[in-house]
Structure formats: structure tokens, C-alpha cells
């Protein structure tokens, strides 16, 4: 059964703990440049937004299609996309084809690397302090997302109710 890392970007605080932990576990070095999960900071309409991004385990993987050395395959146990270090030639075709920009050629190794989900126990999920990352079975993803949405709806309703019940300050429109 395949697993995926679910990213809830609304919760991300941009602390980049996942990058540090990932590079420390997989590359034995604290270097966010060599991490397999990256947090992108974007500024839209003056509002800061952090977008963690890693391999999304596509069903039709573009990286697998374009690889000239047939180095990309699926791990039979976790279902994660793996790049064979022996077969990879470092042509970075996969990084150009990936719609998320998840795999990249590491300049130290000269080989392409991608999220391997740490053999079924992702470090980034463990260290994430704000709960933006979670690890779930691929067929449970929809349920997890729905549950999150419902939870958000409930909290929003409660907040609305609180606003309705609380006394409003004078001189303001009730909207």
C-alpha cells in the first residue's frame, strides 16, 4: 500500500525544520539546499505565504516517463518513488519534467535525488512543529482532507457563534 505526505500549507509557519531534518537524515549535513522537501516563501498582495513542497507520488509520473536511463521506479513496500543511484546519470530531465519541481540533481553527488519517505517513517513529519505535514495511506488521503475541512468548518462556525453572542462595541455596523 502506498503512502503519501499530506501538506497543509495553511498551517505552515515557515520554520524550515523539515528541510534541516531531511538533509541531516539523508545527506548527513545540515544544508537546506540538499533537502528533499523545500519550503518556498511567496509574497502575494503583501501577505506572506509558505509552501512546503515535496514529491507528491503522482500516479502517472512524468519523471519516470522522461528518464533516459530508466532509473526511476516505485519502492515495492512503501510505494514511494525511488531513483536508483547506480543507474542515474544526472541529466536533470526529471527535475525539468516534474510539475512540482520535487526532484533535483544534487551537485555534491552528481545524481538526482527525490523524497524516499525515509523508508516509511518520514523525518519531516516527525519534526514539523505546526502540524502542516502528515503521513497517510494513499487511499485515506481523501478522508483525511475531508476531516480537516470539516474540522475547519466547525471551528469557523464556533467563531461565528462567538461573534454573534458576544456584545458588539457601539457605533459599529453589525456585519
Amino acid at each position: 500500500m502506498s503512502y503519501v505526505i499530506i501538506i497543509n500549507a495553511d498551517k505552515c509557519s515557515g520554520c524550515q525544520m523539515c528541510e534541516v531534518a531531511c538533509s541531516l537524515r539523508n545527506m548527513k549535513e545540515c544544508n537546506p539546499e540538499r533537502s528533499r522537501i523545500r519550503v518556498v516563501k511567496s509574497q502575494l498582495d503583501g501577505q506572506l505565504e509558505f509552501i512546503p513542497s515535496t514529491c507528491m507520488q503522482c500516479e502517472t509520473a512524468m519523471c519516470e516517463l522522461v528518464c533516459p536511463a530508466n532509473a526511476i521506479s516505485r519502492d515495492p513496500e512503501t510505494g514511494a518513488r525511488i531513483i536508483s543511484e547506480k543507474k542515474c546519470i544526472g541529466c536533470s530531465s526529471c527535475s525539468y519534467a516534474c510539475p512540482f519541481g520535487a526532484c533535483f540533481v544534487d551537485r555534491g553527488l552528481g545524481k538526482s535525488i527525490v523524497c524516499s519517505q525515509c523508508d516509511g517513517d518520514p523525518t519531516c513529519v516527525k519534526v514539523c512543529p505546526s502540524g502542516a505535514l502528515s503521513y497517510a495511506r494513499a487511499d485515506q488521503v481523501n478522508i483525511t482532507l475531508k476531516r480537516g475541512a470539516a474540522q475547519r468548518l466547525i471551528t469557523a462556525r464556533e467563531a461565528m457563534r462567538e461573534v454573534e453572542t458576544s456584545e458588539l462595541p457601539e457605533g459599529r455596523d453589525n456585519c
Binding site: I7, I89, S92, F100, F104, G110
Partner: protein, 330 residues
Amino acid sequence: MGELLYFAETTLLWIVAVFFLLGIGWRIFFFIVSIFRSRTFSRHSVWHRFLTLVGALIPFHRAVLKKPMYTAIRYGFHSCIFIVPIWFSGHISLWEESRFEWYWTPLPDAWADWMTLAVLGACVFFLARRIIVKAWLNAGISDFLLILITGLPFLTGYFLAHGTLNSIPFFENYLWYFHVISGEIMISMIIFLFCRTRLKMETCVGCAACVENCPTETLEVYDKDAFRFFRYSHYQCICCGSCVNVCPENAATLSHAISVKHFYRMLSKDVIRDVELATCERCGVTIAPKSQMGKLEGILSANDVEMDLLNYCTRCKKMISRSKCGFDRT
């Protein structure tokens, strides 16, 4: 005339030997210097470099599968070139007569004969190949000269050992000197012999896989103003064939080149290829060679995959994919 030929046999031989040893020392010295000067020195360990070189000497790697017949001829030719002059019985008897009095077990004469014929046959094959596919290999005059200089000592040696041309008086007297002088030319040519990587303009897409896999950083790549340049430094190349192995387009070829110019330009680098880079549609950063993008687009459209994010940089892809598919939104 006689004095001149005697000079070729005695003094010139010593000059050639000293020249050869000094030249090889010079080559090794600048090989080490240029390797330590390269920027990405720490990428490959010395052990990995050594293994690559050994692996290149053993003919069982991917380049063999690409051209099995040609590789077999190449390996046979090169091993014969080394074995025949060293283990030929006539040469060993000369060493024995000399002041060194060295002796080692010679090769059987019949073997040496067949190996010489194999070298000559391979020379003819290479010459024919150069002439027939000249445009493809972009061969110059020095490539033909290289084959002729290599073949001549073997041709004269074969005739000398068999006495085939003894009926002609000119050759009976002077063939020996032809053999000696052509051998001396060949030995002194070795130090001007460089390996040269060529990237075929039509098929190379500029993916830089050869650069990533070069164990000695002979090939280098740098991006400048929407162009990607490939640089090559001839003193570092150990002719291991890694670039030929990995090239997904079969565009990289290795060939010999005799060049006096390369010998004294020790630490310079030649630009051997430049490709245009595509830019990100959103932020204008250069991302990848245009030809490689075209190739990827072809593969993806052949597999009916939507590829509207192909022409964006990694950072923009991440931002667009979040706002577009909203995989984390309600």
C-alpha cells in the same frame, strides 16, 4: 647519407628516449596540477577515479554495448600496439646485445606476425572509416597523420622480419633505417597525443550528464547570459569513456588528437559546445537547454501527459501548483 643514418640509429635514439621520458613527466605533472586546480575537486574520491580508469581499461561497460564490433577492434589494436614492440624476439635480442643486457621471454614469432597483421588491418579499417564517415567525425589532417605514423613502423617491421622486399636493392639497404626512424617518430608523437571529447552538434541536447559523471572534472559547464557553455581541458582527460557511457543521446565521442599546441597550453580550456537556455515564463530565470526541453515535450506528448508547467522554474512550479490544484485547500 651513411653518417646521417648512423646518427638516427645511435644519438637520435637517446634524444628520443630522453624527450619521451621528460614529456611523460611533464604530462603527469600538469595532470596532477590541473586536477587539484579544478573547483569541484571534492566530488569524487581518488579511489573512485582510480576505479573509473581501471573500468575503462576492461572492455565491459556500456560503451561496448553501443558499438560492440568497433570496440573489439579498438581494444585489439591498442593491446597489439603495446605487446608487439616489447615482446618481439628481434627487439629483445637487441636489448640483450646492448650494454644493459636485459632479457625477457619473447612472444612466439608466429603470434607476433599475426598481431602485426592485426594492427595493419585495424589501421586500414580506421583509415577507411575516417574517409567514409569523414563529415560525421569532423576529421582533420592530423587524424590521418596519426594513423599513418602508427602504422608505418609495423609495416616496415613486418617486411624487415620476413625479408619480403629484399629483391629491391634500395629497400634491402635502407628498410632498417625506415623502421628505426618511423619508430622514433611514433615514440616522440606519444607525448603530443591527447584525448578529445566531441559533442555532436545535431544530437547533443546539453543535459550535462557527461559533466556530472566525469571523474577528473575534464568537462566543465557554466551558464552565462541564456547560454550554456561546455569546456574541456585536455590535460585532465584520462580517456576513461565515462562521458560516452552515460550520454543518453549517444552524442559524446572520444577520439585521439595529436596537437603540439595543446602540449604547451597546459592549463587552458577550450569551449567545445554552447547551447541556448530556455527561460522561466513567470520570473525569467534560465532553467534548461531549449533542445532538452523540446525533447521532454516530445516524450510527454507522446504519452498523452499534460505539460503546461514545463517552461517554469522550480520555484515558480511550486507556487503555481499550489494555487492551481489546491491540493491542500478545502
